[in-house]
Amino acid sequence: MKQFTLKIIASILVLASGMSVQAQLPDQVFKAAGSPVNPKVTVTWNRYYDHAGISEICKKIAAAYPELAKLQSIGKSFEGRDLWCLTITDFKKGNVDKKPGMYIDGNIHSNEIQGAEFALYTAWYLTESFGDTKFIQELLEDKVFYIVPTINPDARDSYMHKPNTASSPRSGVIPVDNDGDGLVNEDNYDDLNKDGHITMMRRKNPNGRWKLDPKDPRSMVQVGPDEKGEYEILGIEGIDNDGDGRVNEDGYTFEYDPNRDWGWGWQPNYIQNGAYKYPFSLPENRAVMEFVVKHPNIAAAQSFHNSGGMILRGPGGQEDIGTYNQQDIAVYDAIAKKGEELIPGYKYLVVYKDLYSAYGGELDWFYAGRGIYTYSNELWTPFLMFMKEGSRDPSENPAFSFDRYLLFQDAFVPWKEYDHPQYGKIEVGGMKKNYGRAHPGFLLESDAHRNMAFSIYHCFHTPKLEVSEITEKDLGDGLKEVTAVITNTRLMPTHSSQDAKNKIERPDYISLTTTGKILSGMHVENRDLNLSVEQEQNPQTIEVPNIPGLGSVTVKWIVQGGGKYTVSVDSKKGGTVTASK
């Protein structure tokens, strides 16, 4: 009882102090253009959050804006963590399930953490800016965002709370016997100096091929052919734990690659390194897949990775070149080129061509499997350090000078001697895991904002349908011809070419309601030349395969009687619209 009372008092105190910190008095602050001036949910955007931290921010956003944000768990991770999804839209306007949707996730690779903050920033910004930004109000009236900050929460927490490099774990945490010796995870990295970071091991060796960098002795450079070195590099911090003559060959840090687990062009592990057992054999991806299938209104998608400063589209595999046809590529190009403008240092690239062939990737399934226009952004680029392209001159070594002059050497673990059971006297040190791939704190918010702006542009260009014309023509003998023109004012068609080709989503329905009797219905192919195709069955609802981006379709009906006409359009990815005449 006593404990219980204490708890209550403690939580009241926390609440009280929280409130006093949370909201600045309105007259103490002055709005910076384009940012929420006095947000209801205060989030510090120059640091990272583990799964519990993300969960708390999600809950706060949903609680602060019940009419703009709803929180649900779309499934559980392998270790039972919730996969949180924030649905962001103007819940007071329209049918949410029928608004064209934009899906955003981050962190599929667990070490690529900032995707979660970028996604979350988007949810936060949309809700906090809704009140005083007309553009956001209109956007959320038309569209819905589904934001899943992390789709790999188990290994996100592992990355943060266990010793790791900047590149580990890329995986989730389902155990795998990497080396096929019958034992699982028997030889992981070892945090020899117990600092939570897995860095490098080096050893003094008169025959070594490395020496200290004269410009920054923390760094190592290779010696020239006629030069003598002082050090050899032994590799990543670790011990041969199982005595098989190999170091760090079977740890939890790389079991599989969750981005090789998706149901389009999937290949087994011996062809595509990282693949697990079959498409969606990882519970986190399966939950996302099921969510997407249940939300056919999702027309656009974004996944956040790191690093390199890229806006990527598929195909992932060379075999899939034919999947992307010119029409779809034109849409991809238009949006991504805007993205290059909005996010300095980022380049628009095609995975198979500019990176490497990768089968079973998330973006391939979203596009080829569901017909959804999808990008993967590789967040963070060394360009952002000094706002210039990286140099090939090794003496410039911008990573070290950035750390020295802007981070004040916070990103580096100084070399320190260690007595290694197999290598003897060695030194351990190097860059910390939060440097090199994750944004440094002060650059996090601005890059998150720019990437969000790209997502908003992407979402803006999901289809927006209008009934732009309803015309009645008297054919005599009590017969009327009713023509309707449906216009799509945005870049994306209601069916991407891949969708139309494989009939992934049903056709768009254009229905006429009238007091008269509908005798015939037609899809008009060329209005000027009077070419049309009759739909004999169910003429009241004309099925059109697609409503093109920045284009229109025309349908017409022959009606006996006539009177008032209501035309309704129902498109899975294009939304619904109704007009009367």
């Binding site: 010796d181 003559g245 592990n269 057992k277 054999s281 049903r506």
Partner: protein
């Protein structure tokens, strides 16, 4: 009545027809109860139709440590024989388990029997309307028009089975078989032939889209749903590979069964009567499209064994179309993979007493009808009968043709013989499995307390420990050769742990270690697909 009585007296199950799901379950349950030391039954999942996917594990002791063969039936829902073969194999094997040879077999080999991967579809054979069904109970939109199951079959002649309908048409592409007027064959336009009929499966165009029976009840077909060359978006394949519970249940089980070295499935694909051959180009592709050379040799060797043991011949050619379990077993699971339909209509000879002549045109239906009549099988053909068809006003439409199921399933009374032959094959196959042994142990004292140990690790079996392709798999355990030291023993020369990709049939690999210390030391060699051996060495 007499037969029933005899069966009753003999105390055996003596069915007159193939088993439905309930009967299959009770036969499996009876085995698990009758042979508790050798058989255990487990349900892996329930399908969307609420049917269990069973696995019967047959073996003794620690079954997961013995090299294993996976036996898969019901690969296609219209292949009743496949399920019968799998269950029948289990019954006959266990019945024979009082013999020394089967007992010895079950001491060294485990069988995982998956009797029926298509229980939803197979139930259609026992249902009110009998039609050729391979799709499970998942609701699908086969013609992708936004509506599900809106145009199924219609029993126009009211005989409770779906056969065919033919429509007289000037643009018809079928003609009457020259030797059997009941049978329709494609007109050969290149030879100037003209067709007389259009041929459809029995039904109406319920949704008036110009197609017949294109979206019937019945969803995803197991043998199109697997991951190798999955035909995404094709009817019955699923919108992504392994979309179905039964598919995933099988894959999840098998990926964890590291001891499985061969998969034998019963379905329309056949690489046992005629082996798949080695095609260097296909095998060298990045997405491997053909058997690697050593694996093609194994297929040839096992095919020879199959033909010899079963005595079958004249098998029709089969084409692997993708998403199938035969391809998955090899290309994705990395194990030796075999498939056979088990039975096909034998090639008939003309019955001269009936003044029959040899066919001038080979056709499976014509051959079946001749064979059926010679066997005294009646009532599997419906004579063509004119009906009024709403979709063809003013045209002559006839319903008739051969029954579903009869071309790929023998009459039940013939199944027992097929089961016996295939049981013999599955037993013989196991006699070729890889078997690791440690031989030629040599210990040399180099000094006091310093010993050189050398051994040969051999594979005494007729198959490699791993398929060549399987050596690349992430979900296979390598051959491990290791010394286990104790006390103060120390390996000062050689590798304490060695991992080998494989040891081929009759292959050997030599190892030696220099060990400091005294007492007993253990050398261990093996892998799950070939068993593990240990020997003790006195230093």
């Amino acid at each position: 009545m007499i037969t029933t009585l005899l069966c009753w007296i003999a105390g055996t199950i003596c069915a007159q027809d193939y088993s439905n799901a309930t009967q299959q379950a009770s036969r499996l349950d009876a085995l698990a109860k009758a042979y508790p030391q050798m058989a255990s039954l487990k349900s892996l999942t329930k399908t969307n139709g609420g049917k269990d996917i069973w696995v019967l594990t047959i073996g003794t002791g620690k079954t997961e440590t013995k090299p294993a063969i996976a036996v898969i039936g019901g690969v296609e829902g219209n292949h009743l024989l496949g399920a019968e073969l799998a269950i029948g194999f289990a019954e006959q094997l266990l019945k024979g388990s009082n013999t020394d040879s089967i007992r010895a077999l079950l001491n060294r080999t485990t069988y995982y029997v998956f009797p029926n991967m298509s229980p939803d579809a197979m139930e259609q054979y026992f249902g009110k309307l009998r039609y050729d069904r391979t799709g499970n109970a998942t609701t699908t939109d086969e013609d992708r028009d936004g509506k599900a199951d809106e145009d199924g079959w219609d029993d126009l002649d009211g005989n409770a089975k779906i056969s065919f309908m033919r429509v007289e048409s000037v643009t018809g592409d079928y003609k009457v078989h020259p030797d059997d007027a009941r049978v329709l064959v494609k007109a050969d336009i290149s030879k100037g032939e003209k067709g007389k009929y259009k041929l459809f499966s029995e039904g109406a165009d319920n949704d008036k889209d110009g197609q017949f029976n294109e979206d019937a009840e019945g969803g995803i077909a197991f043998n199109k749903n697997l991951t190798y060359i999955h035909k995404t978006f094709a009817a019955g394949a699923g919108d992504y590979p392994a979309s179905e519970k039964e598919t995933r249940a099988l894959l999840d089980f098998l990926y964890d069964a590291f001891n499985v070295y061969a998969v034998v499935s019963f379905g329309s694909n056949n690489n046992l009567s005629t082996p798949l051959t080695y095609n260097p180009q296909a095998a060298a592709q990045r997405i491997v499209a053909g058997l690697l050379e050593p694996d093609a040799k194994v297929n040839g060797m096992v095919s020879e064994l199959y033909n010899k043991v079963t005595g079958t011949k004249d098998a029709p050619r089969s084409n692997v179309t993708g998403g199938d379990v035969l391809s998955w077993g090899y290309f994705h699971y990395g194990r030796y993979s075999f498939s056979t339909p088990g039975w096909w209509v034998p090639k008939t000879k003309p019955d001269t007493t009936k003044k029959e002549k040899a066919f001038t045109l080979e056709d499976p239906t014509a051959n079946y009808l001749r064979w059926a009549s010679q066997q005294g099988i009646a009532n599997t053909f419906t004579e063509w009968k004119t009906i009024q068809h709403p979709d063809f006003p003013g045209q002559k439409v006839e319903v008739g043709g051969v029954d579903p199921y009869v071309l790929n399933n023998p009459p039940y009374k013939m199944a027992d013989d097929v089961v016996k032959k295939h049981t013999a094959f599955l037993v013989k196959l196991a006699s070729h499995q890889a078997e690791i042994d440690i031989v030629n142990l040599k210990t040399e004292k180099l000094a006091n307390g310093l010993t050189r140990i050398s051994v040969d690790v051999v594979n005494k079996g007729g198959l490699s420990t791993h398929s060549k392709l399987g050596e690349r798999s992430y979900f296979i355990k390598k051959v491990k050769v290791a010394v286990q030291t104790s006390g103060k023993q120390e390996v000062v020369g050689g590798r304490k742990i060695n991992l080998l990709n494989s040891i081929e049939a009759n292959g050997a690999s030599s190892f030696s270690w220099v060990v400091k210390g005294t007492g007993k030391l253990v050398v261990e060699a093996g892998c799950p697909t070939a068993g593990t051996k240990t020997i003790e060495v006195n230093l």
